[in-house]
């Protein structure tokens, strides 16, 4: 199982790098500290309004900021390091899986952190149970991690990367966004969340297939 060993090694390496450079941490902290305070400040004293838009806003923010984890600077893709990786004969698919695992973990941590803070600051009208919330976060993070890792590869080395990558991810992430927003919201409306969860699972699976199939081509194209 060289494939899984390589994937796990890469994932561990990415996480170690993140622990040292602390870039995701550096998105969580400013986000939690700034965004969550800035929004209510700007909206003013209309607490009811804030709590009504809390969940949708949460998913929108988490999508926008979460995807940037995939092209953070400390990710091990500085040209010489990347090239060594390639020349070690690491299977592109294993590299993809490893990076997706690391990114998904980081995104999950990020989302849980921001989620707890929103809960505290916004008191949203309806809170899904913790179990459901955790499930939706995991499915969302898995999809977002795959999508944004692919986008990161596709835009590697392009000057305007920070512009292009979100442009690629945001529209394609719409099924994830709608699925997640509906799964957490619909308890107040119809209570039927299973179709939305299935949509999330389906999106994740499609992305996984596409990701694995294109990994090799992406690695070739990224040089």
């Amino acid at each position: 199982m060289m494939f899984w060993r390589q994937a796990m090694t890469i994932a561990g390496h990415e996480l170690l790098l993140e622990r040292r450079a602390g870039e995701t941490w550096s998105i969580i902290v400013p986000f939690a500290g700034a965004a969550l305070i800035v929004v209510p400040m700007a909206i003013g004293t209309d607490l009811q309004l804030i709590s009504r838009i809390a969940w949708p806003l949460y998913w929108a923010m988490v999508l926008l900021f979460g995807m940037q984890i995939a092209w953070r600077h400390s990710a091990s893709e500085r040209t010489p390091v990347r090239e060594v990786m390639i020349l070690l004969g690491v299977d592109p698919a294993a590299r993809f899986v490893g990076r997706v695992l690391a990114n998904a973990l980081l995104m999950t941590v990020f989302m849980v952190g921001v989620g707890l803070l929103s809960l505290l600051l916004y008191s949203p009208v309806s809170s899904p149970g913790f179990g459901r919330f955790a499930l939706v976060v995991l499915l969302f993070a898995a999809g977002l991690a795959q999508l944004s890792t692919m986008a990161a590869d596709l835009t590697l080395g392009i000057g305007a990367r920070a512009a292009l990558a979100p442009l690629l991810v945001a529209p394609l992430a719409m099924p994830l966004l709608i699925g997640a927003a509906q799964s957490t919201a619909s308890v107040t409306r119809t209570g039927v969340i299973l179709p939305w969860l299935l949509m999330l699972v389906l999106a994740d699976l499609i992305l996984a297939v596409v990701g694995l199939l294109t990994a090799r081509a992406l690695e070739e194209a990224a040089i």
């Binding site: 090694t9 790098l17 450079a21 090239e83 020349l87 004969g89 592109p92």
Partner: protein
């Protein structure tokens, strides 16, 4: 004696700028070739072409049996070792951590890391992060990677740049090991100092074309 690298009239164009123009060369098992030339002539580009990191825009080439620009190169890449102008180290990680990644990805135990660092004289700096190391120390750590996972085709870009006199034998030892193990080395530099006595053959790159040296 088998041929490891064979370029036939290869040209390279990057971002619409032609850099290398119809270069042909051959490197066989046990060979050590030095490619010399002035600044900006395309030495680094040629080396990266042999490393399969750039695809030729014209001509044909084979490296370790795989045709350049084809899918086959994916299968031979793990037998190519390259050290370039900039050490391939992750700045926030220690030297040991950087090498451990290489060891694990190539299916080796972590034990080999210490030996490799010792070989290049960095046993005492294993726990310093790459960012904390001096330029020469980073260059040495980059060579340690090639000791850890010895390639069949060794490609060194200005191997002696930034290294002090006590480090020159490290490069020589690396080249010796690769040649003895039925491999070959291609060294790139702008002058003979350093690489001159290591290389069995020399080629001179000028205006994107190769010529025999002297």
């Amino acid at each position: 004696m088998s041929v490891l690298v064979q370029l036939e009239e290869v040209g390279v164009t990057i971002d619409l700028t032609p850099i290398i123009d119809r270069v042909s060369l051959e490197v066989s098992e046990g060979d050590c070739l030095a490619i010399l030339g002035p600044n900006g002539v395309g030495k680094t580009t040629l080396l990266r072409l042999i490393a399969t990191l750039i695809t030729p825009s014209s001509g044909r080439g084979r490296v370790l049996g795989a045709a350049l620009g084809s899918r086959a190169v994916l299968a031979v890449r793990d037998r190519i070792g390259l050290a370039g102008h900039f050490p391939a180290l992750a700045g926030p990680l220690t030297l040991a951590e950087n090498l451990r990644l290489v060891a694990r990805l190539t299916g080796r135990g972590d034990g080999s890391v210490g030996a490799a660092l010792d070989l290049v004289g960095l046993a005492g700096a294993a726990d310093r992060t790459a960012d904390q190391c001096s330029h020469g120390m980073r260059r040495r750590a980059d060579l340690a990677r090639l000791f850890l996972h010895p390639p069949q085709l060794l490609l060194l870009d200005e191997p002696h740049a930034g290294l002090d006199a006590s480090a020159a034998p490290i490069v020589a030892e690396l080249v010796r090991r690769v040649r003895n193990a039925a491999g070959a080395a291609v060294l790139v530099s702008h002058d003979l100092t350093g690489v001159g006595h290591l290389a069995a053959r020399r080629l001179w790159l000028d205006a994107g074309r190769l010529e025999p040296s002297e």
